[in-house]
């Protein structure tokens, strides 16, 4: 059974004239990492809401089609039950962390579910270990740097043990090295725990290194959905507001001029070696 099944989804908000999501279908297997790209206002946020249940449970509108997460149909399930399947990390971690210590913050969601103390302890410790923040356990979240806060918020999401984690532009507020560390952590969690991720990002250079798929959305429709190297090297994605990393763009241009190059995404250090220049 697929982890996520979106079948011919159409959605129009009550107060909007047009459908924000149009005939959108997407299927994701357990353990996949999917990057979702597309210009501002293309319907990405709406799609995410339709996956975690905010649509149709909190936002009203005209809803057609079906979204099924791990066998549970979103429109027919309670938000509470969905929250255990799908975790959500916002762009700004300050919207998400609020307790007096990091470990209390991570435990918060679990306490609400009435999980036994011992199990909470184990899950919190494990989440902190995966994100390399065990040393921050007793610290107050508001004293931390943005990158640390982002990791605390993600640990809180992971402790709930969701099958799918959605990240909305997780690196936009982070300095480049911190962003790279967060992306490494995502890759590691995916490998160790088999957690699936949907990452919404404009900046692709970092996230494509851990992605299995890249989907591009434009005006509520899915335009491309394939392995990242296929989409970035074989399609013209720029008109759809997707920023192709500089070296990938170069690799694509050179391939198009008939220069033989591998069909995988080459790192900046690899391209000259492949070319022999």
């Amino acid at each position: 059974m697929a982890l996520l099944e979106i079948e011919n989804l159409n959605f129009r908000y009550l107060d909007s004239e047009r459908e924000v999501i149009q005939d959108f279908s997407l299927s994701m297997e357990h353990g996949e990492v999917l990057v979702l790209a597309g210009p501002s206002g293309c319907g990405k946020s709406t799609l995410l809401r339709a996956i975690n249940g905010l649509i149709p449970h909190m936002y009203q509108g005209e809803y057609k089609g079906r979204v099924v997460v791990d066998g549970m149909e979103v429109a027919k399930s309670e938000m509470r039950a969905l929250a255990q399947k799908v975790g959500f990390l916002f762009q700004n971690p300050e919207n998400q962390i609020f307790m007096f210590s990091v470990e209390r913050d991570i435990a918060f969601g679990l306490e609400n579910l009435g999980i036994p103390r011992q199990e909470i302890r184990e899950r919190v410790d494990n989440a902190m270990r995966l994100l390399g923040i065990t040393n921050l356990a007793k610290r107050a979240p508001h004293e931390l740097s943005d990158g640390q806060k982002q990791r605390v918020a993600l640990a809180g999401v992971l402790a709930m043990d969701p099958k799918l984690v959605i990240l909305d532009e997780p690196t936009s507020l982070l300095d480049p090295l911190t962003a790279r560390e967060l992306v490494y952590a995502i890759g590691k969690i995916n490998k160790e725990k088999g957690t699936s991720f949907i990452i919404v990002e404009h900046r692709l250079d970092l996230v494509v290194t851990v992605a299995d798929r890249l989907a591009v959305m434009y005006e509520g429709k899915k335009i491309f959905d394939d392995r990242p190297e296929k989409v970035l090297l074989e399609c013209d994605v720029e008109p759809y507001g997707v920023l192709v990393p500089a070296v990938t763009k170069l690799q694509r241009q050179l391939s198009r001029q008939g220069i033989p190059l591998p069909r995988r995404l080459l790192a900046p250090e690899e391209l000259p070696v492949e070319l022999g220049v």
Partner: protein, 273 residues
């Protein structure tokens, strides 16, 4: 034009946010400020418009010590688009938002009307003229903040993390705006983590770390110092990494993809020809 002389700033909590900062920005320059989260970049910017005053040292803007000038006076010459537009937008409608600064600086009603039309058109915000700014998307709010500032035509434009939440098309447009303003003789200061956005514009690069300026120079030299960048938690632009992995390097790193493509095609044709 903007001068920091041995500036130290200590927060009320005792945290030293700036430490012995010396910086001189000249008219018409394009300067980028990079560095880790919490390095003091925004604190530095706040000193330029007098929102913060140095604990020690001096900040001079257009020959005026910021201690002797109001933020309103300084803002006429220096427009800042802060990272979070929500802290800057507060009017009932988009057009009032743009008019606000213009009215405060005493522009006449017909000039205000013209400038509003120009700004809305330039940033593609006409359709929101009568809408409340809070209903715009994050990217649109950022463009509105910039529209408000450009409307009163300051000499210096400071952009704090302008690319956050902007897609490829908007980033391209932003990059064009920055180059255009700079070619008109405006001084542009960009605080940004987005190295790939900054690199093709080849600005002067100031690197900050723990409240200090640790490097200051041309993009091609500062961005080539991987040891220094790592310490300031900045990554190298992809095109520099590519350049450094080449056997026979051209004289200077590639500015953009076209530059790199041209060079590589030449190198390949020499080899096969």
């Amino acid at each position: 034009m903007i001068e920091f002389e041995k500036v130290t700033f200590v927060h009320q909590s005792g945290v030293k946010a700036l430490q012995d900062v010396n910086l001189r920005i000249r008219k018409g320059e394009m300067v980028s400020i990079v560095g880790e989260n919490g390095a003091g970049k925004t604190t530095l910017v706040k000193h330029i418009i007098g929102l913060l005053k140095p604990t020690e040292g001096r900040v001079n803007v257009f020959g005026k010590d910021t201690r002797d000038a109001s933020t309103a006076q300084l803002s006429r010459m220096v427009g800042v688009a802060f990272q979070n537009p929500d802290h800057q937008l507060f009017c009932e409608t988009v057009e009032e938002e743009i008019a606000f600064g213009l009215k405060n600086f005493g522009f006449s009603p017909d000039v205000i009307e013209k400038r509003i039309n120009w700004a809305l058109g330039f940033f593609g915000l006409e359709k929101y003229r009568k809408n409340p700014p809070i209903t715009l998307s994050g990217g649109e709010k950022k463009r509105l903040t910039l529209a408000c500032i450009l409307a009163w035509d300051p000499e210096v434009i400071i952009l704090d993390e302008p690319t956050v939440g902007q897609d490829a098309i908007q980033k391209e447009k932003l990059s064009e705006i920055v180059r255009m303003l700079n070619s008109m003789g405006k001084t542009v200061v960009i605080v940004s983590h987005d190295i790939e956005f900054l690199w093709p514009m080849q600005p002067r690069v100031v690197v900050m770390s723990s409240g200090k300026i640790v490097a200051d120079g041309e993009a091609s030299s500062v961005m080539n110092d991987s040891y220094l960048l790592e310490k300031a938690r900045v990554t190298q632009p992809q095109l520099i990494r590519l350049y450094n992995s080449m056997k026979r390097k051209p004289q200077r790193p590639f500015r953009d993809v076209f530059d790199a493509e041209r060079h590589i095609m030449e190198a390949l044709s020499v080899r096969t020809g």
